[in-house]
């Protein structure tokens, strides 16, 4: 699976914005667990210690916002592309 990161998080993944990750399971939670195991700081930017997606982080699985799918339980398929994006926030 491919994980696409915003530029601001690339430093936490060795400078790369596109990562190939073996999810180690069938859901988005499995993928993010694997990613956090490889890059703990990156993992913490995306989810809090209770495992929840941070409020202003959007995750898209094949173009769909997982908040409107099954959240962290959203299923992955072969070749799935996961986008991590900062939401609209700040000021």
């Amino acid at each position: 699976m491919q994980v696409v990161l915003p530029g601001v998080l690339a430093d936490l993944a060795g400078g790369r914005r596109e990562l190939d990750v073996d999810p180690g399971g069938a859901t988005l939670a499995d993928l993010l667990d694997t990613l956090a195991g490889q890059h703990p700081l990156l993992g913490r930017r995306i989810r809090d210690e209770a495992g929840q997606l941070r409020r202003f982080v959007n995750v898209y699985v094949d173009g769909d916002d997982v908040r409107y799918e099954q959240g962290l339980a959203t299923a992955l398929r072969d070749g799935t592309q996961v986008h991590v994006l900062p939401s609209i926030a700040g000021g």
Binding site: R44, I46, D48, R54, F56, A89
Partner: protein, 359 residues
């Protein structure tokens, strides 16, 4: 020797240095740009002074970072310095306070956080452990958030004993005499205008400070009231007489002169601006019996405010006093709050100011 001020703002951290005994200041920054720095400390107990920052990314969450080279580089713990244990089901929302313990406990650092929680580090702030005695206190589920959040915003470890005092919005003052195991509320005499009766706890204390000469004597700036205790918090009495307003956020005590403390009054409850738009520091030399105003060097026509951690004293002689405003100005006094000079202007809103003399 260099005098260092750490200035945490809503959009980053600035450092100011003085090499001429706090007469002129050189500003350096921004560090941690675009990150909210709500808590900062300068840990001067270490061979290399450590700047600890509790930061909050708008999108990417809160964490603790530190610099051992005065801001040139920053580090953080991979798995998070402050991380709620899984069984709590909680997640860190914001770091409100980073407080190094005494020189005799050189690696101990305390953190006060949101949601209401106290943390203790034994490795200089790299990792913290939740203080379970307070987290498991039966009152905790009934503590309310203040306007800024559900935060433990004041942590005062006593250097000579195992006493630890914390204050929170809105839960009041709690004291442990055994290093954090058992806790009791100590708020008697402190009114709470937003509640129908004087409660055992639940007061909206904004900040407390310990007197230099007597650890049993403390000062409190509350949401509507300024108070003193002479018996470790068991009974509080008002010392707001003589102040132009009894509201404000910070209260600072002198680290070297008994009976000396400072407040920055704001007209309340809803306005929260300096009286008549005149930013002033009020100082007492007699533990709150009388107050005098210092205005020299502070702006007139200032309709800004000073938040609870944006006011501090250093431990030099004479004591330096520092404050930062929500409109991005920082002022320093090298004469115990008598006169002030401008350190910085036009920064983002200042959330926290800390100062120390370093090698």
């Amino acid at each position: 020797m260099t005098d260092l001020i750490a200035i945490g703002t809503r959009k980053g951290l600035w450092l100011a240095r003085s090499d001429d005994d706090r007469r002129t200041w050189t500003l350096d920054g921004p560090h941690l740009l675009a990150q909210e720095v709500a808590a900062v400390s300068i840990d001067a107990r270490r061979p290399q002074p450590r700047v600890l920052a509790g930061i909050q990314y708008g999108h990417w969450g809160p964490t603790v970072m530190w610099s051992d080279d005065l801001g040139a580089s920053w580090q953080e713990t991979d798995h998070g310095a402050i991380r709620f244990p899984e069984d709590t089901g909680a997640a860190l929302a914001r770091v409100w306070q980073l407080r190094p313990d005494s020189a005799a406990r050189p690696d101990v650092v305390w953190a006060g956080c949101e949601p209401h929680s106290l943390w203790r580090s034994e490795d200089g702030g790299a990792t913290f452990e939740l203080v379970r005695g307070l987290w498991d206190h039966p009152h905790r589920p009934t503590w309310e958030p203040g306007g800024g959040g559900a935060a433990i915003h004041t942590v005062l470890p006593d250097p000579a004993t195992e006493r630890v005092v914390v204050a929170m919005s809105a839960g009041g003052v709690y004291v442990s005499e055994d290093g954090g195991g058992r806790w009791e509320p100590r708020n008697r005499g402190i009114s709470a205008g937003f509640l129908p009766e004087e409660p055992e706890y639940g007061q909206c204390v904004h900040k407390i400070a310990v007197d230099a000469g007597d650890p049993e004597r403390m000062y409190a700036q509350n949401h509507g009231g300024v108070f003193r205790t002479d018996d470790g918090g068991r009974k509080w009495t008002s010392i707001a007489g003589g102040l132009p307003a009894d509201f404000g956020f910070p209260i600072v005590s002198s680290p070297r002169t008994a009976g000396t403390a400072w407040v920055i009054p704001l007209v309340a409850d809803m306005q929260r601006v300096p009286p008549e738009g005149r930013l002033r520091v009020q100082r007492t030399r007699d533990a709150g019996e009388t107050w005098t105003a210092s205005t020299a060097g502070l702006p007139d026509g200032a309709w800004t405010s000073v938040l609870r951690d944006a006011f501090c004293a250093d431990d030099a002689d004479p004591t330096g006093v520092y404050l930062g405003t929500r409109d991005g100005c920082v002022y320093a006094s090298a004469d115990e709050g008598e006169t002030f000079t401008t350190v910085a202007e036009h920064l983002p809103d200042v959330l926290t100011v800390r100062a120390a003399r370093i090698p």
